[in-house]
Point group: C2
Chain length 220, copies 2
């Protein structure tokens, strides 16, 4: 048993390297031998510390979530002193920066994005733990930006419109890099790209609100 008191260095190295390798190659193409080589441990260590390659993957995912949330806190999304527009823009900027973070610690979101694209058995856990809460924040903000009487499906479609614009820079990064490399060339360009997505969406929200005939606008 690996007690929660003081995890062994080998255990930690294994977990951290696993996130990197799984993110880089995907679950299937990642080999335990590659993970163990990078972590400077014996091949049998995966079976020893974790039960199997599958179990290591699940643990690596959980570890990635905690690290991603630690590196990209989102408390400002709940800051009611900011306007809904400001909180929405903050969400988008934070999300894009997360997705395009290629630093040594940025493999976490790569791993999550990969799990979204080709789900393993671990996706259900990920949904409940990491994605549903995110969508909850986004839904609350969007509902404030739209008319209160707007139907659920419209809210859901708007959430996916925002989600999709952002995730494209991860899932279709190969295309962005080849066709529009200047859009993500440096942090300044990334910031501007995120700002565009926020503006683009806020424009649409404003029109969805204005064209909703169910109730007169009570706010603004």
């Amino acid at each position: 048993m690996t007690g929660p008191n003081t995890p062994e260095p080998a255990f930690d190295r294994l977990l951290q390297v696993a996130v990197e390798v799984f993110a880089e190659f995907g679950f299937r193409d990642a080999t335990v031998r590659e993970i163990c080589t990078r972590a400077n441990v014996n091949v049998a260590s995966v079976s020893y510390y974790f039960r199997s390659k599958d179990a290591l993957y699940v643990q690596a995912l959980n570890f990635a979530f905690k690290e991603a949330n630690r590196r990209y806190p989102q408390e400002h999304l709940l800051d009611q002193s900011l306007s809904p527009e400001q909180r929405f823009t903050g969400f988008v900027v934070n999300f894009i920066k997360k997705l395009l973070d290629d630093s040594n610690l940025g493999f976490f979101n790569k791993l999550i994005a990969r799990e979204i694209y080709e789900p393993t058995k671990a996706l259900d856990d990920i949904l409940a733990t990491a994605i549903v809460p995110q969508f909850g924040y986004l839904e609350a903000i969007i509902r404030q930006l739209l008319s209160p009487q707007v139907d659920n499906q419209t809210v859901q479609r708007c959430m996916l419109s925002v989600f999709g614009q952002c995730l494209t820079f991860k899932h279709s990064r190969s295309i962005v890099e080849r066709l529009f490399p200047e859009l993500i060339a440096d942090p300044i360009a990334i910031q501007a790209t995120a700002q565009h997505i926020a503006d683009f969406s806020l424009y649409a929200f404003a029109q969805f609100k204005a064209s909703n005939p169910t109730l007169p606008d009570l706010q603004q």
Copy 2:
């Protein structure tokens, strides 16, 4: 469909089945044995008719493109008798239907989407052959919808906003199916979802046009 004695030559069956299997499992997880079993041919046939698994993949991709364009023609995008708004909506609706086509012949786009997500050496060919022309259509329409003097980067970002909203229903389908299944439950729902994306984007385009050349900073 595929019996012991099928009129189609082994080469054709192999190619068609390869598209299915590569789309379903991806290049790495797809095995030539699985392909040959489904095609009712011997394992050695892949080496015989195609040089290798890699060469078969490239040929399958090229085959998929031709079929996808044949099944989803886009000549209406060039119909100048339609308004730019109509042509844009037509593009989005066509794109979404393509992406969500799960019929027996709908594996082509699955394969293309997969190649976008995790590129192989075949991506450059795909870009020039299938993706750049599509983006060309989209760019022409969007330029008509925006102010003529809008800068290139804004046009590119708008293209990616549209592209991303659509592709989400393919790349993040696992999430859509779990969290918002009713949005893609049937052809009517899919049509409405596509219409939302078109409206969402057209709203934004109108605002981008109205507020040109200097975009207001909605943050702060």
